[in-house]
Amino acid sequence: MKIRLIEIQNFRGIRELTWAPSEQVNCLIGAGDAGKTTIIDAIDLTLSSRYQTTFDDSDFFEGKPAQAIEITITLGDLPEIFKAVTKYGGHTRGWDAEKKIIVDDPDEGNGLEDVLSVRLVVNHTLEPKWNLYKASFTGDPRSERSLTFEDRQKIVPTRLGVYTDRHLAWGRQSILTRLSGNACVGVEILAEASRLARKHFKACEEGLFKETVDQISEWARPVGVKLGKNIAARLDVQGISLTSGGISLHEGDIPLRLLGAGSARLLIAALQDHAAACVPFALIDEVEHGLEPHRISRLLRYLKSDRDGTRAQLFMTTHSPVVLQELGIDDLAVVRRDKPTGKVTAISAKTDIAELDSQAPLRSMPNSYLARSVLVCEGKTEVGLARGLDRYWVKNKRDPFATAGVVATSGRGKDQAPQLAKHFRKLQYHVALFMDNDKDPDNSKILLELERLGVKILRWEKGKASEDVLFHDIGDGAVKRIIELLKGEEEAAKILEQFKGMAGKCSVSDWDDLQKKCTDTAIRAQLATCAKKHDWIKTRMSLSELIGLEVLGPNLERLKGENEECMTGLRAWVDDE
């Protein structure tokens, strides 16, 4: 079975959500209060139909129980038997996989898949109700139909929460129980075990509580209670009643639940996987919890590997770039919440931008996906400058980028960077694009399009690359400081040779000479050209970061016109987020 559509109304922070998850792995990412865990909880509550679950007012959107919670989960890839008219055939609906919509009646002749919708409704009475939902049955007795107890067991997801102990015991709905084919431990065995325990205790107790017990008999006398001679401490039947949940996996005498959190989860994940035939859905909170990066990789690769089609559909949340690096773009869904309306969206991270290899950014810049805002920079030079500026601003008591949830990332050149900005914008991130202005992207319309989509475009003065601005447009002190920084580079000698090698009117003998002459306009121009030609700054991210911190930052006030606008625009965008 597969979940085709999840619809949530008025559940916790979500007033409304409609999401068609992917068939296999669904990793939910997004800001802390976007509603990722709420979505996982919604799936869990709806498909588990645990009648002992209690709801309270805080489970309703804005805490208002007047608007009922409605969670509808539509299941496809149904077992044949579910489709029988004598079972739930009459409740089937149609799933249009292309348009990702449900049609109330099936239509397999036109390629719709037969699906069933399970709905959880909680109204102000706080009494949960699970039924099969079909719009045309609203208000007639057929809307009261629900899955039988036996069939409900077939859709219960397993959840790897932060606490997973129970899955290492044979309790209700635990993975071990399901792996054992839901076999129940005979009541008589458990009864006999507790009888033996009482017997053993009786034999060994001798004298342990004797003094107290004797005292009690004496104290009872004055109040007129006569206790018999056989008063003793014994194991209470109630106190040690064993249930099958009390039977758990041990290694020797040590219960496996005492494994480290990570190991326990790995083990359970593996068990879960083998139970997949009977457990169609797995829910994992914070998949990285308790795991070192290499074990995360191992776990994810394992969960994703193809094993004769019995893989459970996976829903998980994460805040870890390591997790993202291991996933495909198809596996990722970005969850966003519009605070004023409570409308939540979950969008597949696959944006289908032809010009962009969408898998690449996930591998190379997982951090960006975990941010709220992305500053897409044309190249590494600009990333370095932005980071340097961030450090400079922090020194000057401004909020760091991190507070605003901003991450600067390299867009790999003037043509790719705008596409990357578009990609993130489509996923509803706040996006700014920081670009040189010496050359325009080949696609002349892309910048206008981005602006329309709401991307903030930040560019230097027309005709200028970052190097031009650094060498030309800020004071002499700045150029001198850059020369100093270059001189300190490991490859300083090579850099000097490259400068000397430039056929130019001005020649310099060594670093000191260059230091002296560098304020000269012609030398500045030659420095800028050479820096661009030989990628002095571009290939040295730490250098550009230092330049941002020590050169650009302190000289921001010297910038004029468009250059000044570019920098104030950047700061304003960050503060705006």
Binding site: V85, G89, V103, D105, P106, D107, E108, G109, S136, R142
Partner: protein, 477 residues
Amino acid sequence: MNDIELLDLITNCRRGSVIAPAGCGKTEQIALAVLHSYGRRLILTHTLAGVDALRTRLKDKGADPTFYQITTIAAWSLRIASAFPLRSGLSLTMPINNEQWDTVYASAVKLLRSKCIDGIISASYSGVFVDEYQDCTRVQHQLICALVDLLPCCVFGDPLQAIFGFRGNPLPDWDKEVLSAFPKIAKLSQPHRWENVGNRVLGGWLIKCRDDLNGKRQIDLRCSPSSVNHCMLEGDTKEKLYQERIKLVLKALNKPKEEKCIIIGDSKNETSRALLARYAKASAVEPITCKRLVKFVKELEGSEGLERLKVVMDLVKDIMSGAKGAALTNVVQDVTAGKRKKQLDGRQTACVEITRSQDLKPILHLLEDLQKQQGLWIYRRELYSALCAALRVVISGTHTSLADAVWDVQNRRRHAGRRFAKRSMGSTLLVKGLEFDHAIIVDVESFKRNDLYVALTRASRSVTIISKSCLLNPVSC
């Protein structure tokens, strides 16, 4: 063909029909076929009584109920068509008349032909059996044909037992339409019903009668076995003939008390059947659309005062004997004229109240009170209980009009099937598909071939035919 070969044929054929003469073990054959089938079978029939019979038989054989679903064509069509309104176009969920039922069937046909639920149908059933196929109307036949495009199907029935229903709905032509959709694969020929009671001779004679009827030959009662009695009806006046007939019926009814007797009369004449029931002290079996009841409802509506009481008393007279209606009416007339001073009893009070308001409660009180009276014989018991039930429904507020309540009660009864008294009076239409110990056939002159066959085959022990001739020449149809 031995039994196993027959079962293989029935369960494996893509489309087929089995001709099942009366009493030749059709229900048994269907039950065995279900047990012999692979996967889950859908078994469709026409009445809840039919559903019951099949279900009981399967239960007796220990069949696992998860491997079959037995229901009526009506219920199945309604369920499936209303489950997918977008595809079937059906908007109603509670059909209340024949036109609406026809809409249900047509919608189900549309749905099945739409290809929208092919997967659901094939996930649900491995095949279909349809019982009493001769009773399928044309639209029901279309429905089964649409279903059969998706599933293997074998139908069971007997064209000679097809009796034109109370509705103007034509039946499909057996030879042209049914057999072309469901080629004949077998004919049952063992008269189990009679063999089971040691009356093999009668069973054999009926098989021969069947051949005669199919061959459009007359039946000569002079060469019938001893369990077939022919009573020659003689008399020169209509009156005499009638008296004679009652006498013969009463004589023929002289059977051991626990054996079930049925008098089979003219399908078209409800009143004459009621009258005969009255004289023969039998219970009249009423058709669903009982004319007398409908007439009563119509007359009651809008009548008042003594006229209203007369309407009620006329009905009382028609459904029971010994009610002393005239005396009651006299008391009420006295009360109305202010002449009566004596205390009234419950029944008299009810009658007075009937004249004074439109309330239905006193009518129900009167009817219930009459039932308790010694020596009173309700010979139209079905009508009586249907009316009481309808009155109760209106009084409890479920329905506002008596006409609706009557329809609702009758309709429910149609699905529930009826219980027969030990001595009943019915028509071929009302008794087809049912079994009795003894049958007494009157009005045989008005019978068509199918009527005659159904009438002759209802009883397992004896058949009495009261007629003016010992040669039976069915009206051609």
